[in-house]
């Protein structure tokens, strides 16, 4: 059986790319890195925009990466797209997901484990979870406060103890067609017992289920 192919985009300033690749391989993917100048994504069934500080977070987090060649190519990409943390910020800045992510209400960088509720398991990103399941996954961000700006959105994970002031306790959302998910919590950082938890690996297992 051939493994589904996943590409992990590397921007200047990405720093969760290797962890994400590792988690994808663990879940069964044939995963490789995609440079941010790449415009041909046809060999992939899944593209992941990893966490980090693309382009140094200059201007606004994700704002410059949203205009990079690889993100332009995502507009014609027909596979699944997962944006984690900075990747989520890139997807909203590129208008591939609704809303925006702005400064945490506390004004601080928050790096801690958070309890999340899986409010939607009818997506290719969450089919391995039970609906209503409570999972524990780390966050690490300064700009994670989700605001919809009046745009409609579909939450996937909600915070039990909203750490950043996000509207509706929103931690992750999915596009209307179910093909694109953005999550502020880092599932790849909860993908092995040695990291302190394994609740996040099911995001990658869900995608594997959807694509195998």
């Amino acid at each position: 059986m051939t493994k589904p192919k996943a590409g992990v985009v590397v921007f200047p300033g990405s720093n969760c790319d290797r962890d994400t690749l590792w988690a994808l391989e663990k879940a069964g993917f044939d995963a490789s890195f995609v440079w941010h100048k790449e415009t041909n994504l046809s060999r992939y069934q899944l593209i992941v925009l990893p966490g980090g500080f693309s382009y140094g977070d200059y201007l606004r987090p994700g704002a410059l990466a949203a205009h990079s060649p690889v993100v332009k190519a995502l507009r014609d990409f027909k596979g699944y797209v997962l944006g984690i943390c900075n990747g989520f910020q890139v997807l909203t800045e590129a208008h591939l997901l609704p809303g925006a992510l702005t400064r945490n209400l506390s004004g601080r960088f928050i790096c801690q484990w958070e309890d999340l509720v899986v409010v939607n398991n009818d997506t290719p990103f969450t089919n391995a979870y039970e609906k209503g399941e409570i999972i524990t996954v780390p966050i690490a961000h300064s700009d994670g406060r989700f605001v919809s700006g009046g745009q409609s959105f579909t939450p996937v994970f909600r915070y039990l103890n909203n750490p950043n002031g996000s509207e509706g306790d929103t931690a992750a959302i999915v596009s209307e067609d179910g093909r694109i998910m953005g999550t502020m919590p880092h599932p790849e950082r909860a993908s092995d017992p040695i990291l302190g938890g394994t609740d996040g690996i099911k995001v990658f297992m869900s995608l594997y289920n959807a694509l195998k």
């Binding site: 800045e93 809303g99 400064r103 945490n104 605001v147």
Partner: protein, 80 residues
């Protein structure tokens, strides 16, 4: 011709600005009668265009599509 503009980007009024809040609380602790502080950014751009109208169009486009995010920010353009 070269044209110079200043684009001012501010957090939207209906959105809490944690930076401004932190600064105003320090200023109040210093005994200053501060009611509100909001922090944005000022971006100076120099563009080349055949005329002012074309230059303004270009700056409006960059201000609305790149320099600001309309969901969380407002912008204004001044000619320098």
């Amino acid at each position: 011709m070269l044209f110079r503009f200043r684009v001012i980007v501010m957090p939207r009024k209906d959105l809490l600005d944690p930076q401004g809040r932190a600064v105003s609380s320090v200023l109040r602790d210093m005994g200053m009668k501060v009611k509100d502080v909001r922090i944005g950014r000022s971006i100076d751009v120099e563009v080349e265009a055949d005329g002012e109208e074309e230059a303004i169009k270009m700056v409006e486009k960059m201000a609305s599509e790149v320099l600001s995010n309309p969901i969380i920010e407002d912008y204004s353009v001044q000619k320098l």
